[in-house]
Symmetry: C2
């Protein structure tokens, strides 16, 4: 995966998940250091609606599988 490309794409996520992957609002999950495989599965679930979340569906709706892999690798690479 391309972590640099993932970091660029993840700029859109920082509003809720934090610029460093630590969410300021405790209602939102920290993503820093999370398993990339799990993050991809979660994004896919939001995209398909398996997980029902309007905001996340809107955020990931336009992402390709490759984008998701890159974003997930970026967050996994961040130290907690």
């Amino acid at each position: 995966a391309d972590i640099a490309a993932g970091k660029a794409k993840a700029a859109a996520c920082a509003g809720c998940h934090g610029a460093d992957g630590i969410a300021a609002n405790p209602a939102y999950p920290n993503l820093a250091g999370q398993h990339a495989q799990y993050l991809v599965a979660a994004m896919q679930a939001y995209k398909t609606g398996a997980r029902n979340h309007a905001v996340m569906k809107a955020m990931v709706g336009s992402l390709s599988d490759e984008d998701m892999e890159n974003i997930a690798a970026y967050y996994e690479s961040l130290k907690k």
Copy 2:
């Protein structure tokens, strides 16, 4: 929340999420250092079926709200 009580209850979770909250299998999320509020919301979603996951529904199905608060506080207290 009662972190000690949470730790005792979380023994059942260690099989997938790791004794230290770091999942050996990358398909499962790390829970160590995650926001307690998010963890409670996730457990509630598995319990109600808002998140459709047979194993997690079985795992959290018998937990009280207080159990979930304690378990979540325990995992939040773990350093990544």
